[in-house]
């Protein structure tokens, strides 16, 4: 197990990867990626039980599904640095003939990816299906998923949330990236989510909150607590309060960088704020 400093160094390097990837192709989604860096680093390096190599069926290991697929930069960086594919391949993000499509997909066979996502609101159902398969297979490993908060405006989520509680799918830990921002503005301005905790509780879920979703120790503690809540007849959701654009000061606390790449000068500032730790790709 890596120590906390090593995880923090990895997170810093991942943030560098994210801004470099989107800068190179002048497209992509840095805001949500930066906001979820600690979550991904914690999940793949401290929280999930993973086998060596990649097996689509994920038997005998924890599996993860990204529902808000537009934050692919952080996903790709963490997968590469966890060894699923060569770090150098991050160079191909969004380029022609790449396995690193704008939104994650199984279509080009990128190891680590088990479902295509991008069109929002579908990942909860998929994760639940995988959780049902684990139960049928007597596999006591867990299914993790990540969802945008704005994404919860998609109705399919609530079909899935209703199904999960009614059928006691208690081997899933869904996390909501609760940054309160979406493309057109704050979630309160676009379509208020209301009391998310109360809504999940009313649907029969076990709800945990991580107040500091960009503090890696807090994220690890929150996810490990969530693990202790599994197997009790209720699905588990973690409301992870994050800051969109975290770690690059001019990208923070705004929806402006949801889907916009930095220019050369902005990249230089972002990199200065996140010094190289593990080596750039």
């Amino acid at each position: 197990m890596p120590d906390t400093q090593q995880l923090k160094d990895l997170a810093t390097q991942v943030r560098r990867d994210i801004v470099r990837m989107v800068h190179k192709v002048n497209s992509g989604h840095p805001g949500g990626s930066l906001g979820c860096t600690e979550f991904f680093v914690a999940l793949y390096n401290e929280v999930m039980e993973l086998n060596e190599g990649f097996d689509m069926n994920g038997k005998g290991e924890d599996v993860f599904f990204l529902s808000n697929g537009h934050i692919s930069p952080v996903y790709y960086s963490v997968l590469a640095r966890r060894g699923y594919f060569p770090v150098e391949e991050l160079n191909t993000f969004r380029l022609i003939d790449s396995r690193l499509q704008g939104h994650p997909t199984t279509h080009e066979g990128l190891p680590g990816i088990r479902i295509a996502s991008g069109s929002l609101g579908q990942g909860m159902s998929v994760a639940l299906g995988a959780a049902l398969a684990k139960k049928l297979n007597n596999d006591d490993h867990l299914v993790y998923s990540l969802h945008g908060d704005g994404e919860l405006q998609e109705g399919q989520n609530w079909e899935a949330i209703m199904y999960a509680a009614a059928n006691k799918v208690d081997n899933i830990i869904a996390t909501v990236d609760y940054n309160k921002q979406q493309i057109d503005g704050s979630t309160d301005d676009v379509l208020p989510l209301g009391d998310l905790r109360a809504k999940f509780e009313a649907f029969g879920w076990e709800v945990l909150e991580v107040a500091e979703g960009n503090n890696i120790e807090a994220v690890i503690a929150g996810l490990k607590e969530a693990k202790t809540k599994t197997g009790n007849g209720k699905p588990v959701v973690v409301l992870m309060h994050t800051v969109m654009g975290n770690g690059v000061d001019f990208m923070m606390h705004t929806h402006a960088w949801h889907g916009k790449a930095p220019n050369d000068e902005q990249l230089a500032i972002a990199l200065e704020q996140n010094p190289e730790t593990l080596g750039d790709y």
Binding site: M56, N57, G58, K59, V63, F65, T105, T106, H107, R114, I115, A116, S117, G118, S119, Q122, G123, M124, S125, V126, A127, L128, G129, A130, A131, L132, A133, K134, L136, N137, D139, G155, Q156, E159, A160, M162, Y163, N167
Partner: protein, 317 residues
């Protein structure tokens, strides 16, 4: 004209139910999901014999498609069951992204397709589903014609690795194909060899094509009749070989003429062997309430229409 008979009329959806039940006994990876239409889809036998492998999802088809995609991660072979309208149009994006683009081994099984759903009317009578599904890369599209073929198709698609759309219907129809048939995905079935016109039919229109063939024979017209259960991939070789012999073709389907079997056959002919073609299908319209027989007559989807179109095709040679 080769003689076809049947002992009784029975619905194609019961063929699906029987096939699924058999799969439940023979393939432990097969699981089934249903959106509050277990009785209509004839899934009760599978459900009762395999309660742990049956998932009642409620009236939530989008979630059903996602659950099915997820179940494949873990090696399961999910069969989803609901009406054709709710199996396709309602969940197109879920199928597109989570199943087709993701390459998931999900079998989308759709009953009550087309006009023969009857009295419920146009809200439920989808006539666009073949087009929707055949446009998805990697999707196999099957429209079976009777009980025996639907049962055989259901069993066969479990062994096919990849997404499949299996379309069948509500009413009792003649069960004339052999109970022991070997179902080969993408392989046309020759029902009658002829020389004057090729009739390529799918689904409920196959029996109508046989009826038409018998009447045409009485008038001295020799029809070659092909049962196309698989619309994608289309058995182009069988169609081209037949049309090379007869010189013209009629296609027949319970679907809009846009996006259906007729278009697929036309594309095949124009690319390889242009020939006169007439299409028996609905004419870019919604359906309405009525009995299946009334609707099929009003919208021109019966043996009388096939005969008329066959003569028209021959006259254009």
């Amino acid at each position: 004209m080769k003689k076809y008979t049947f002992e009784k009329k029975i619905d194609t959806r019961s063929g699906f139910g029987a096939g699924l039940a058999e799969l439940g006994r023979t393939n432990e990876n097969v699981v089934a999901l249903c959106a509050d239409l277990t009785g209509s889809l004839k899934m009760d036998e599978f459900k009762n014999e395999n309660p742990e492998r049956f998932f009642q999802v409620g009236i939530a088809e989008a979630n059903m498609m996602g659950l099915a995609a997820g179940l494949t991660v873990g090696g399961k072979i999910p069969f989803t069951g609901t009406f054709a309208n709710f199996s396709t149009g309602r969940v197109y994006d879920q199928i597109r992204q989570s199943i087709a683009y993701s390459g998931k081994n999900v079998k989308i099984c759709a009953s009550h397709a087309g006009l023969t759903l009857g009295e419920d009317g146009a809200t439920h009578q989808i006539l666009e589903d073949i087009g929707l599904m055949k446009m998805l890369p990697g999707m196999t599209v099957i429209n079976s014609c009777d009980y025996n073929q639907t049962k055989a198709a259901t069993i066969a698609i479990a062994d096919h690795d990849g997404p499949v759309y299996l379309r069948f219907g509500r009413p009792a129809v003649p069960n004339f194909t052999p109970a022991d048939q070997k179902f080969e995905i993408g392989k046309a079935v020759m029902l009658n060899e002829g020389t004057d016109v090729t009739i390529v039919a799918t689904g409920h229109l196959v029996w109508e094509a046989i009826q038409a063939g018998e009447k045409l024979a009485e008038e001295g017209i020799s029809a070659e009749i092909i049962n196309i259960h698989t619309i994608k991939p289309l058995d182009e070789e069988a169609i081209l070989k037949s049309v090379a012999k007869t010189g013209c073709v009629v296609t027949a389907e319970e679907h809009n003429f846009l996006g259906g079997l007729g278009e697929s056959v036309a594309r095949t002919l124009t690319a390889n062997h242009p020939a006169p073609q007439e299409i028996v299908a609905t004419q870019d319209t919604f359906g309405e309430s009525g009995t299946p027989a009334q609707l099929m007559e009003k919208y021109g989807l019966n043996s009388a229409s096939i005969i008329e179109k066959a003569k028209a095709a021959i006259s254009r040679k």
